[in-house]
Symmetry: C2
C-alpha cells in the first residue's frame, strides 16, 4: 500500500480509501487507480490487517487518576510512544477484577509488551504471572529491585535520605514523615532513607513523627492534622509524594501556619502540582518522562530482537533523581 501511495503521490490513507470505496477527491481516485494498475497491486485484506496489527503496542496499567504522579506517568508514556511510533493501550485498574485477569485482557486485546507501574509490578512479582503472560514487561518506579522483573526506577532510599539530610542541614531536628500506602514498597524504602539520615546525624527516630498516608491528597490532610496536633509538633514534614505534601501546605494555610517560616514541607516526584501551589514545593525530582521513555525504548528493542525465545535476563535501570529546592523549605523559625 505504501508503494502505491508513493507512486500515486498520495497518502497511504488515500489508497486505503479508494480500495475500501470511501469518498476521495476525483483526481486522488484517478491517481490511485492508475498506480494500482501500474504496479499490479492486489489489495489483500489479510496483509492489510497484519500490517495494521504489527506495530508495537504497549499496554500500560494505571490507577488513581487524581494522583499527580499518575498524570505525569501518562503524559510521559504518551510522549515516549509518540516519539518512538509505538502505540499505547492504556487500561485503568478495576478494583473488582484481579490483576491477572486485567493483564491477560490487555495482552489478548493486542498488547505485545507491558509497562507495569508500582504497585502493580510489586504485586505481580514472585507470583509467576509474568511468565504466564509471556510478553516483554518492564516495571516502572518499583520501590525496590524486583528479582523476576526488569525495572526502571530511582534509588528511593538514597533520594529520601538526601532530602532528609537537606532538611537536617537547614537546622531541623524534629522532622515528620508521611509514609505511602502499605501496598507500595516505597512506603518501606523511602522511610528507610529517612531513618538512615536521622541515624547518621544521631537524631532520635520519634515514632510519633511517622504517620501513614496512602499517597492521596486526602490522606495527607489527615496525616498533617495528626502531626500538627502533637504536643511537640515537627518543624518540617517530608511526605512520600507531592500530593500529600500539597495537603500539608493546604492544612498549614488553613491553620494560619506560615510555610516555610513556621513549617517546612518537602515532597517526592516533582509532579506538576508541585509548582502550582504556593509556596511551590521542595521535592525529589523523579524524571518520570525520561524513565517511561527508557521503558518504552527497551520494550521496542526487545520486541525487535528475534532471539528472544529464551526468558530474558532481568535488569534494573537507575534514573538519576535530584533535589529541587523551592519555596516550601527554609531554616526553622524561632517561634
Amino acid at each position: 500500500m505504501h508503494a502505491v501511495a508513493k507512486h500515486a503521490g498520495v497518502s497511504p490513507m488515500s489508497v486505503s480509501n479508494v480500495i475500501n470505496g470511501r469518498r476521495v477527491l476525483p483526481h486522488t481516485r484517478e491517481a490511485v487507480l492508475r498506480a494500482i494498475a501500474d504496479l499490479d497491486y492486489k489489495p489483500n485484506a489479510a496483509a492489510r490487517a497484519l500490517a495494521s496489527a504489527s506495530p508495537v503496542r504497549i499496554g500500560l496499567l494505571y490507577n488513581s487518576p487524581e494522583s499527580a504522579f499518575v498524570s505525569a506517568l501518562l503524559v510521559g508514556a504518551l510522549d515516549a510512544a509518540t516519539r518512538f511510533g509505538a502505540q499505547l493501550l492504556i487500561r485503568r485498574f478495576e478494583e473488582h477484577r484481579t490483576l491477572s485477569d486485567i493483564l491477560f485482557d490487555m495482552v489478548e486485546g493486542g498488547a505485545n509488551a507491558l509497562i507495569l507501574p508500582a504497585p502493580y509490578c510489586e504485586a505481580a512479582s514472585g507470583t509467576g504471572l509474568i511468565e504466564r503472560l509471556n510478553v516483554p514487561l518492564i516495571a516502572l518506579c518499583s520501590g525496590s529491585e524486583l528479582p523476576d522483573m526488569s525495572s526502571v526506577r530511582v534509588d528511593d532510599a538514597a533520594a529520601a535520605r538526601d532530602m532528609t539530610n537537606y532538611l537536617i542541614g537547614l537546622g531541623h531536628r524534629r522532622i515528620g514523615f508521611v509514609r505511602g500506602a502499605q501496598n507500595h514498597i516505597i512506603s518501606r524504602t523511602r522511610f528507610e532513607g529517612y531513618r538512615l539520615a536521622l541515624l547518621e546525624h544521631d537524631l532520635e527516630l520519634d515514632p510519633d513523627l511517622v504517620v501513614d498516608g496512602d499517597l492521596t491528597f486526602d490522606s495527607g490532610l489527615g496525616a498533617t492534622e495528626q502531626l500538627l496536633s502533637l504536643r511537640q509538633p515537627p518543624t518540617a514534614i517530608f511526605a512520600s509524594n507531592d500530593d500529600m505534601a500539597a495537603a500539608i501546605v493546604s492544612v498549614a494555610h488553613r491553620r494560619d501556619i506560615r510555610v516555610p517560616d513556621q513549617l517546612s514541607v518537602a515532597g517526592f516526584d516533582d509532579s506538576p502540582i508541585s509548582r502550582k501551589i504556593w509556596p511551590a514545593l521542595t521535592t525529589v525530582r523523579q524524571p518520570i518522562v525520561d524513565m517511561t521513555e527508557i521503558a518504552v525504548e527497551s520494550l521496542i528493542e526487545i520486541l525487535g530482537n528475534p532471539a528472544t525465545k529464551e526468558p530474558l535476563a532481568t535488569f534494573t535501570t537507575y534514573a538519576d533523581y535530584s533535589l529541587v529546592i523551592r519555596g516550601s523549605t527554609s531554616a526553622p523559625g524561632l517561634c
Copy 2:
C-alpha cells in the same frame, strides 16, 4: 479461537500461546490441543490478525500535558474506553507538524474513529479535513457549536455568565477577567458570558480589567500581576480555567493578599488542581469524564451502524455544567 478456549476451559490467550509455541503449563497445552482436535480448528493467521484489528480504536489528540484540563480529559477518555471495551490511540500534538498530517497518521495507524478536543476541533472546522479523513469524529469541549462537526460541550457563555452573576451577587463590582488563548473559541464565548452578566447588572466593562492569558499556569501569573498593579485593582478575578485561577491564588499568597477576604478567585473546569490548592477554588464544573464517555459511546454506536455510508448529520450534545462554590470566593472585604 474463542470457541477453542471455551471448549478447553482456558483463556483465548492460552490458545494463542499454544498455537504460537509459547510456554504454557503442560495440562493447559494438553487441553488446548485436545480442543483443537475435537473442533477441527485450523489456526488461520489472517483471521487472527483481522480479529485483533477489529476492535473500536478511538484516536485522541491532546497537547499541553501540564494542563489540569488535559489530565482530566485523558483520565476521562481512559475510563470510558475501559468501560466500553474500546481501545484508545492517544497522540500528543507535535508543534512542527500540521494537524492534517497528524490526524491522517492516527487513522493510518489504526484509529477508526476520532475524538478531537478544543482547540483542534475548532482549527479543523471549515477546512474540509474531516471529510477527507472519513472516519466518525466528535469534537470535545469546543467553545461554540461547530457547523460541520458533532460535538459534546457545555454552554460556555451561559456558564461564564452564571459565575459572573454569582460574583456580582456576592457584592463584587470590579471583577477582573483572564481570557484564554486566542486560538481557543472559549476565549470569545466565556468572555461573552462575563460581558453579558455585567451588562445585565448595569456594570461598566472596564477594559483594564480584562487581560489575556493562554490557559497555562505561567500565563496566569503574568495576568494577575497586571490586574493587581492597577490603580484600582479588582476585588474578584474570574479566570477562564483552573490553572490560571491557581496562579492568581499563588500570586496573592506571594503578595500577602488574603484570598478570599481581600481577593475572590474563580476558575473554570473543576479539574483536580482546584481541590489541591488552598483555599480550594470556586469554579465551573465541566463534567469532562461524562462528556468523554458520551463521545466514546457515540462513536461506538456510529461504528456499529452499517448504514453510515452517507455523511452523518452533525449534532451538538450539551452536558450540564454547575457552579462549585469553595473557599476562594466571598463577599468583598472592607479594605
